[in-house]
Amino acid sequence: MAELHIIGQIVGASGFPQSSLFCKWGIHTGGAWRLLSGLKEGQTQVDLPQTGDMAYWSHPIDLHYTTKGLQGWPKLHLQVWHQDSFGRCQLYGYGYCHVPSSPGHHHIRCVTWRPLGSWQEQIAQTFVGGGPQLRSPDIIYSGADRYRLHTEAMGTVQLELGIIMRHFDRYGVES
């Protein structure tokens, strides 16, 4: 029975307009996957970098999956939020990336985007914060309808993931 360990961290994010950021993350898998241990979703702390643009979270990810098949390989979806000086949180970006399928240590840069509202909304956003968000976050990783959205590119989230695969070779998956 094939097992997959995903061990790593969400290092941080850079390239966002403001740098006091936090991140909500989750792992999405297909039906064949079974979580053995670990938390598959979570939220980082808010990092307010004193110097530099990059917000560091160093948020640990440690998951242990087993699977019946290859379909639905885990995907990581992220939401980057910004907490302003008033303590209000607003969405700064959605992003998703596939968990690498080769064992070893991987540096992943996950680019994010944000839905762009109408000009009124944008003006409101600059003054009072907030902003358009997806009604159903599923769109993040099922991109069929995403082309209808007007979006804006935001920064990148950096991840470091170590992948350990076990017994995949028994089922003909060479790594």
Partner: protein, 1668 residues
């Protein structure tokens, strides 16, 4: 190495010399400082040993140390035992020497000094340590220190010699040079060593790269190796040195520095008043310093010389960085200077205008073309300054002039840029624009097949090639066909058909099959003619016959077709001939020959006949069979009908008989009637008999059919042959219409376009149409493709002049990737066009009706149609690699085609209807063993099993099942995964499982057994552990409550707040700093030390072994004392101090005298404390007397369950600390035999005296426990008597007796201090009014802020998790009547009995069961039902009982030791306040110093709560008068009146009578269990039970119970002694509340009864269970 022995010899000599000198010195030493005569001797022996040691230094050293030790031992033996100071001094020396020895083993050169000097220390070992450790300048003048100084100098000299020897050894190549004066030598540094070739060449300085230290070490090692020749291996230390030694010479320098520092320090010390030398001055200063040593010590002059030399060597390094570095100022160049220098280098063109003369060639005037009338364009505008600069610069260049024109200006072209656009603007209105030019905005379109690129994989980077070979086309009909062409085409078609049939030769095939089948049937029948056929055979024959019939039918059809085809061919040919004759020219070259093959008539006829006969026979057989079957069917039906009819008749008859008894005539009529009636009703109709088969007709039929479809016998076989060799009539001889048609034909030409994925790729050349309407293209197109082939289409175009018409689209199937060029066959693809074409000449046109007949009848319409022969295949690359896309991507291909069906992907595409396929397969009788059919059979099997049916649902995860690695069940079955998941879910059993095995097989089923059992037996009560069904139920119930609360708690636990995660050190404020400063001034060792607050440790980073339980046993009071034993039972010894002796001795005998003597001599008691915790047992030393003082620290390791040190887990630790007091008892056993009198054997016994139990949870929550505890002593201790004080004679007997118990003072804490879990303050729902809750919250908050250490409780949580106001729990409740009846006249006795009754209810702390969540209060009836509860429940019940007796009683909420926050009961009686401990049943007076209650927080009565606002909290110092508002703050006051809260307690308590029989059974069981346990604890000794004693004990127990354990001890002992005679008895009754077996077993174990190891010991044990 050869000379190493010599060297060693030398070394030895040196050593000996040294020792001699030491001896000399020692003499001096002894003269001056000898303190103890023995010491001198010791020193001498030591010296002797030293001199005796003639081996290597290391060995000598070791020996020397050993000798020291020995000598010291000797000294010890000789010294008087009382001389403690000497001993101590020795001890210290010993310590020092051993320390030195350890250091010396490190082989540090620096320590070498100390090593060699160790003999001095040891010699002067008896000196007080102070004088030895005096390197202060003040004592430098003392004689001893000068002595020492000398000593040290000598040593140093010796050492340097030894070192030089070693160095010599190192530089064996250049011996001798070592000893030259080193002072003459040049100072040497590390750097020089590398660079100076002279020194290298000299080789005398440091010839080997190894530094002296290494050498020395090597020498030592070698020495040691030799000293231990038997061990060939290196020692561990050597190995360590080898691997860890750093060979970097830099360290050497450091070491030298250290050395230097030391020597310098010594030098300074020698000089005494010498000030600090300037370090910068370097070595010279040092040397002079050393030189200036007092000359008085001439004897040592020689010795000091090498010392100086050595120093010099060491100071070589003193060349510091200053010698090589120069400090320079930062370089700076002045501004002006810099400008100057820059000016020298740089050229700055001037911006002044250049004179014109320098710009034009010499002797020339500038010439202005403009003035000469020539056109000069306008120069582009440039600023004058820039122009000047440029000019200046250019002039400096070589040939700079050439840039200037004749006019002296820089050459420039006119500005080419036009100022404005020269193009005329377009001014039209929008509608004026030509419509063709108008643009329409279209949205960007998504490409249809955007995602259909072939997945590029590997090196075959999209290098795929399709070859499309368009060879040609043949029209089967064309608009330009003449009639003859039509016929000709038809003929050709028929002929083709004929050819293909001939090729397949189905008829012949079927004929053979038929014959074969016939033969098989015949054979089978013949073989089994004799015997009856088995059913299988019959079945098979039946099948064969069926098969025969089918085949015959097929064969007949085929023959029919053959024949009709032949006929039609002939017919068409005849028509053509007729047409040719009619039009008198031929258009087509077709010519049909009929080849005739003659056959032999006779044999043919015979075969024909035989065939017919066989057929007839078969038919007849079949018919016969059919008839038989029908006949049987008929008979069966007939039979049925008859029975039915009979039944009907009988029924009718019965009714008839009833109706008309006398009507006996006309029976038949009746019958007829009945019959008609029956038929009319229902039931089978009368069946018709089957017809006889017409045997004669069969032959007729067969013959008729044969003549129709078959060749007549003897008739020749006709084989048609079509050739196209016939002549075509030339144009001249044709009529005009025909000529026109032919001209028209020649005008036409055809070409083909190749379209790939609906895009035109290429087209063929134009080919003109021939008269035979065949076009040959013969072109191959190679298509390099990137997209997946979706469609390949060929379009046939016809060109007439300039116009092209699309005739037809021909779709070519995309070839399979295995079809490659070269091996592919060309296909003929039919096409047709529905174009309507009409002509006015001979051609028939297309889609136009025409007729062959003259009269225009029999019209037919033909469409243009034809066959295109082409071939599409995948190309083959140069190295024979097919350029086809990989076949492993069928899915991608299908996805491109949007055919996403699982079954289609498997390969059975387009077989949507499984049923039809199945039918076809069974019908066609596929051979299941044929490998070709395996795929279909497989599919059918799957289909018939119903797993894969036509999908009527939408699949979310396509192909999930097909591609699964494993099944769902396998995942579920995996034990390892289960373990992982359970751990992740934090299921209690697996929560702290640290390591999960990596392999499946390492996870045993055992892991889950417990868990599964628990799941399975959720409801089933296990009575084995509990002995009592009721208690088991209670335990289960509690377990359930605990689990549900725990789950709630788990959720809450995962919600962290900031302080859980971030630990922030508080920034010290000024105040704290000031306090800390104050602390500096505190005395280091205060007279009354206080325990300091320690830093608390959060539990998360702890592991096993980190936590210890510190237990300080301080002292005890009132330990029971031994009573003398009387050997004879009749003579009771009299304890002189025993005050309540209830009996007197009969005769004062010798024994009695002995007894008093015994008392005087014998110790009263020798108690010691044994602490056991988690099966670790530690004990103190033994003290003497009934009031012993131990003051000992015991450390007990603590390990949490499962190694989980989280708060929750620690809270649930149920272990208890047992503190047992034992009496240590010596028995003297006489020696055996001859040894009697000379040897004395003693045996140690320990007798249990009492115990204190403290649960770990209490210690954990309070972090420390400090106080005096009453020792739980049994009421009767055989052989011991309690000392009683004479003071008490008050009204309360109990009071007095209570004070008489033994007490022990303890301090218990946990190291490191743990943070107890914060109880989660959850909001619970409540039925109290909102206002009350608010007030109570405010009350509690106020209390907490003002008096943070006083517990205040107004609302509590009941067992249902609801908040209840506390006063609701107080209500008078009547105790059991029997308790009241026991002492009707003595209310004091009654109250005591009640208190005892309450205390006997087992206690179960909530904090253990509900870890840190909350305290649950149950009502009294729940409490009595559960039979388990906390202190609160006990207190509430006791309070309620007291109230019902008419006493004044309150509930005290306070803290006590060891319980911590708890509840007590306060009563007011006879002007005295009494405090009752509800869980022990004891009562204390208000001023009782041993009262465990420490703090009184508040008092609770049935109608109010008072909070203690007094200064003090301890009971003796406060006033309990609640009416005083200053002292007690009431909850309900005038502002907030009591709303009259009703009680939650029941009206009355119902007491169940207990089942005495069950109790007795339980008692027996328990006794058996305990006996078994005791035997189990004594595995190495036989355990004998004294039945007689046991039965006696059984009799005593009820008495004990009745008397409450008082005043029976002595009677008891007396009685037992009477009974048991000469036995020595020790024992005690234990009195425990019963809830489970385990605590009782624990209690028995902790007394250590089983540890008696006397050989002939006998045990007696009795259990009495008293139930109420």
């Amino acid at each position: 190495m050869a000379s190493s022995s010599d060297l060693r010899e030398k070394l030895r000599k040196k050593r000996r010399a040294l020792q001699h000198s030491l001896q000399v010195k020692d003499d001096v030493d002894a003269d001056t400082q000898a303190l103890v005569p023995t010491q001198k001797e010791a020193g001498q022996t030591h010296i002797e040993v030293l001199t005796a040691g003639e081996e290597e230094p290391g060995d000598a050293l070791r020996r020397n140390l050993k000798a020291q030790r020995q000598s010291r031992r000797r000294k010890l033996e000789q010294a008087p035992a009382g001389d403690a100071s000497v001993m101590e001094a020795h001890y210290k020396t010993m310590v020092e020497v051993t320390a030195v020895q350890q250091i010396s083993q490190k082989d540090e050169k620096a320590e070498e000094l100390a090593v060699i000097s160790s003999p001095t220390h040891s010699q002067r070992g008896d000196l007080p340590p102070r004088s030895r450790a005096t390197p202060t300048p003040s004592s430098s003048h003392s004689e001893s220190s000068t002595m020492r100084q000398r000593m040290r100098d000598k040593l140093r000299a010796a050492r340097s010699k030894a070192e030089s020897l070693l160095q010599q050894e190192a530089s064996l190549e250049v011996p001798g040079s070592r000893l030259q004066s080193l002072r003459d030598r040049q100072p040497l540094t590390r750097f020089d060593q590398e660079t100076d070739p002279d020194l290298k060449a000299g080789g005398d300085v440091n010839p080997s790269p190894l530094n002296p230290r290494v050498k020395f070490r090597e020498a030592v090692r070698r020495v040691r190796m030799e000293s231990k020749p038997e061990t060939g291996l290196p020692t561990a230390e050597e190995a360590y040195n080898f691997f860890t030694f750093n060979f970097d010479p830099e360290h050497d320098k450091e070491a030298e520095k250290i050395q230097k520092g030391r020597t310098r320090r010594e030098a300074e010390y020698e000089e005494g008043e010498e000030e600090e030398g300037e370090e910068e001055e370097g070595e010279e200063e040092e040397i002079t310093e050393v030189d200036r040593e007092p000359d008085g010590e001439d004897a040592e002059r020689d010795d000091s010389a090498p010392l100086v030399r050595e120093e010099e060597e060491l100071f070589i390094v003193d060349k510091s960085a200053h010698d090589f570095l120069v400090v320079k100022r930062a370089e700076y160049m002045g501004y002006q200077q810099r400008l100057q220098s820059e000016n020298d280098v740089l050229f700055t063109p001037s911006f002044l205008s250049v004179p014109a003369s320098s710009k034009v060639p010499e002797n020339m005037q500038p010439r202005y073309l403009e003035e000469e009338g020539l056109y000069v364009g306008e120069r582009p505008p440039i600023s004058l300054t820039n122009q000047n600069i440029l000019e200046n610069r250019i002039l400096k260049q070589e040939q700079g002039r050439k840039w200037f024109g004749d006019d002296g200006r820089i050459m420039a072209l006119p500005d080419p840029i036009k100022e404005s656009s020269t193009r005329p603007p377009l001014f039209h209105m929008e509608d004026d624009v030509d419509p063709a030019l108008q643009a329409i905005f279209r949205k960007a379109l998504k490409s249809k097949h955007a995602s259909q690129y072939i997945a590029v994989g590997g090196e075959m980077n999209g290098d795929y090639q399709l070859d499309v070979d368009v060879s040609g086309l043949i029209f089967s009909h064309h608009a330009l066909f003449s009639r003859e062409h039509v016929l000709g085409a038809r003929l050709a078609q028929l002929y083709d058909q004929q050819l293909s049939r001939q090729h397949r030769n189905l008829t012949e095939h079927l004929n053979t099959k038929l014959n074969g089948l016939r033969n098989a049937v015949r054979n089978m029948l013949e073989m089994h003619a004799g015997h009856g056929l088995t059913p299988i055979m019959q079945q098979r024959i039946c099948e064969y016959k069926q098969e025969l019939r089918n085949t015959r039918r097929l064969r007949d059809a085929e023959q029919d077709k053959d024949r009709s085809l032949l006929k039609s061919i002939i017919k068409v040919w005849k028509e053509i001939k007729a047409l040719r004759d009619f039009q008198r020219f031929t258009n087509t070259p077709y010519k049909l020959y009929l080849r005739r093959e003659d056959v032999e008539r006779a044999s043919d006829e015979r075969r024909y006949e035989a065939e017919i006969q066989a057929e007839v026979d078969e038919l007849q057989g079949e018919m016969e069979e059919d008839y038989q079957r029908k006949l049987t069917e008929y008979k069966r039906q007939q039979e049925e009908w008859k029975t039915w009819r009979r039944r009907q008749k009988a029924k009718k008859k019965k009714t008839k008989k009833k109706k008309t008894q006398s009507q006996d005539d006309a029976d038949e009529d009746d019958d007829e009637d009945d019959l008609s009636d029956g038929v009319a009703e229902l039931g089978p109709s009368k069946p018709d008999p089957p017809e006889e088969p017409d045997m004669e007709g069969v032959e007729e039929q067969v013959r008729e059919k044969a003549s129709r479809i078959r060749r007549k016998p003897g008739e020749p076989i006709l084989v048609p042959e079509l050739t196209a060799s016939g002549p075509i009539t030339s144009n001249e001889q044709c009529p005009r219409g025909e000529v026109a048609r032919r001209e028209d034909v020649t005008k036409r030409s055809l070409f083909t376009k190749v379209l790939y994925n609906d895009k035109e790729v290429s087209r063929t050349d134009n080919r003109s149409l021939n008269s035979d309407f065949r076009v040959h293209f013969g072109q191959i197109f190679n298509l390099k493709i990137v997209n997946w082939p979706e469609s390949i289409k060929l379009q046939v175009f016809e060109v007439l002049g300039s116009s092209t018409t699309l005739l037809a689209d021909v779709f070519v199937p995309v070839p399979d990737s295995s079809i490659l060029t070269g091996s592919a066959l060309s296909e003929e693809l039919e096409f047709s066009s529905n174009l309507r074409v009409m002509f006015d000449h001979e051609a028939v046109g297309s889609d136009v009706p025409f007729s062959f007949e003259a009269d225009g009848s029999n019209r037919q319409t033909l469409l243009t149609s034809g066959k295109l022969s082409c071939c599409v295949s995948w190309a083959v690359g140069e190295d024979n690699i097919p350029l086809a896309p990989p076949t492993t991507l069928p899915k991608a291909m299908y996805s491109g085609l949007k055919q996403l069906d699982a079954i289609a992907c498997i390969g059975a595409s387009s077989l949507n209807d499984m049923k039809k396929l199945g039918e076809w397969a069974t019908e066609s009788r596929l051979d299941p063993n044929d490998p070709n059919n395996s795929a279909i059979m497989q599919l059918l099997k799957v289909a018939s099993s119903g797993v894969v049916t036509a999908p009527e649902y939408f699949r979310l995860e396509q192909l999930q099942e097909e591609f699964n690695f494993v099944k769902e069940e396998n995942l579920e079955q995996s034990r390892r995964f289960r373990l992982l998941r359970l751990r992740n879910q934090e299921v209690a059993d697996f929560r702290n499982y640290k390591f999960v095995p990596a392999l499946e097989r390492e996870v045993t089923d055992k892991v889950f057994q417990e868990y599964e059992r628990r799941l399975r037996e959720g409801v089933i009560v296990d009575t084995k552990d509990h002995l009592d069904a009721h208690r088991a139920l209670v335990a289960k119930y509690l377990q359930k409550i605990r689990e549900s609360i725990f789950n709630r708690f788990l959720v809450a636990k995962h919600n962290f707040i900031l302080s859980d995660l971030v630990q922030e050190e508080e920034v010290p404020t000024i105040g704290i700093l000031g306090l800390n400063l104050f602390k500096l001034a505190e005395p280091k060792r205060p007279l009354k030390p206080r325990r300091k607050e320690r830093k608390k440790v959060t539990a998360q980073n702890l592991s096993d072994g980190d936590i210890r339980l510190l237990l300080n046993v301080i002292r005890a009071y009132n330990i029971p004392v031994r009573k003398p034993y009387a050997n004879k039972p009749s003579v009771a010894s009299k304890s002189s101090r025993s005050f309540t002796e209830t009996f007197t001795a009969g005769q004062p005998s010798q024994r009695a005298i002995q007894g008093s003597d015994w008392i005087l001599n014998q110790v009263q008691v020798r108690p010691f404390v044994e602490v056991s915790f988690q099966r670790t047992v530690l004990q103190t030393t033994t003290a003497d007397g009934p009031n012993p003082c131990w003051n000992e620290d015991l450390q007990l390791p603590f390990s949490a369950p499962n190694g989980d040190y989280s708060t929750a887990s620690l809270q649930s630790v149920k272990d208890e600390v047992f503190i047992n007091i034992f009496d240590e008892f010596y028995y003297e056993l006489g020696g055996e035999g001859e040894d009697r009198g000379r040897e004395v054997h003693t045996r140690l016994e320990k007798h249990w005296l009492g115990s204190v139990k403290i649960p770990f949870s209490t210690i954990y929550f309070q972090s420390r426990i400090d106080g005096t505890f009453k020792v739980d002593t049994p009421q009767v201790l055989l052989g011991y008597s309690k000392e009683r004080s004479l003071s008490s004679d008050g009204g309360y007997d109990t009071m007095r007796s209570l004070n008489e118990g033994a007490f022990i003072t303890l301090f218990i804490t946990i190291e490191p201090q743990l943070v107890p879990g914060e109880p989660i303050r959850e909001k619970f729902e409540s039925q109290e009014s909102e206002r009350l809750l608010q007030v109570s919250e405010a009350f509690e908050r106020d209390a907490a802020t003002r008096y943070p250490d006083r517990p205040c409780l107004t609302t509590v949580i009941d067992i249902n998790g609801k908040t209840v106001f506390i006063t609701r729990y107080i209500r008078p409740l009547k105790p059991p009547q029997e308790l009241l009846d026991a002492f009707p006249n003595n209310p004091q006795e009654a109250t005591e009995l009640i208190a005892r009754y309450v205390s006997l209810i087992p206690s179960l702390p909530d904090s253990v069961s509900f870890t840190g969540v909350c305290d649950l209060w149950s009502t009294c009836d729940q409490f009595l039902a559960l039979l388990a509860g906390d202190e609160e429940e006990h207190a509430v019940l006791l309070c309620n009982y007291f109230l019902s007796l008419g006493m004044k009683a309150w509930l005290i909420i306070g803290t006590a030791i060891p319980e911590g926050p708890t509840a007590y009961v306060l009563t007011f009686e006879q002007n005295r306040y009494l405090i009752w401990n509800p869980s022990s049943g004891q009562c204390y007076g208000q001023y009782d110093t041993f009262c465990p209650l420490q703090t009184v927080g508040c008092l609770v009565s049935a109608d109010n709560v008072w909070f203690n606002t007094q200064v003090y909290t301890s009971p003796p110092r406060i006033c309990f008068d609640t009416t005083k508002a200053k002292l007690w703050k009431p909850f309900f006051s005038r502002a907030i009146p009591n709303p009259g809260l009703s009680s939650v307690q029941p009206e009355e308590l119902a007491y169940r009578r207990t089942d005495q029989a069950a109790a007795a059974a339980l008692q027996d069981r328990m006794e058996k269990i305990l006996k078994d346990k005791i035997m189990e604890w004594r595995p190495r000794h036989p355990t004998r039970w004294n039945r007689y004693c046991t039965s006696t004990l059984r009799q005593f127990l009820p008495k004990l119970e009745l008397s409450g354990g008082r005043d029976v001890a002595d009677e008891h002992r007396l009685e037992l002694q009477t009974l048991l005679g000469d036995y020595r008895i020790s024992g005690f009754p234990l009195h425990l509340p019963f809830s489970e077996v385990r605590p009782i077993v624990e209690a028995v174990y902790s007394t250590g009864v089983h540890n008696v190891e006397t050989s002939n010991v006998e045990f007696a044990l009795a259990v009495r269970l008293k139930c109420r």
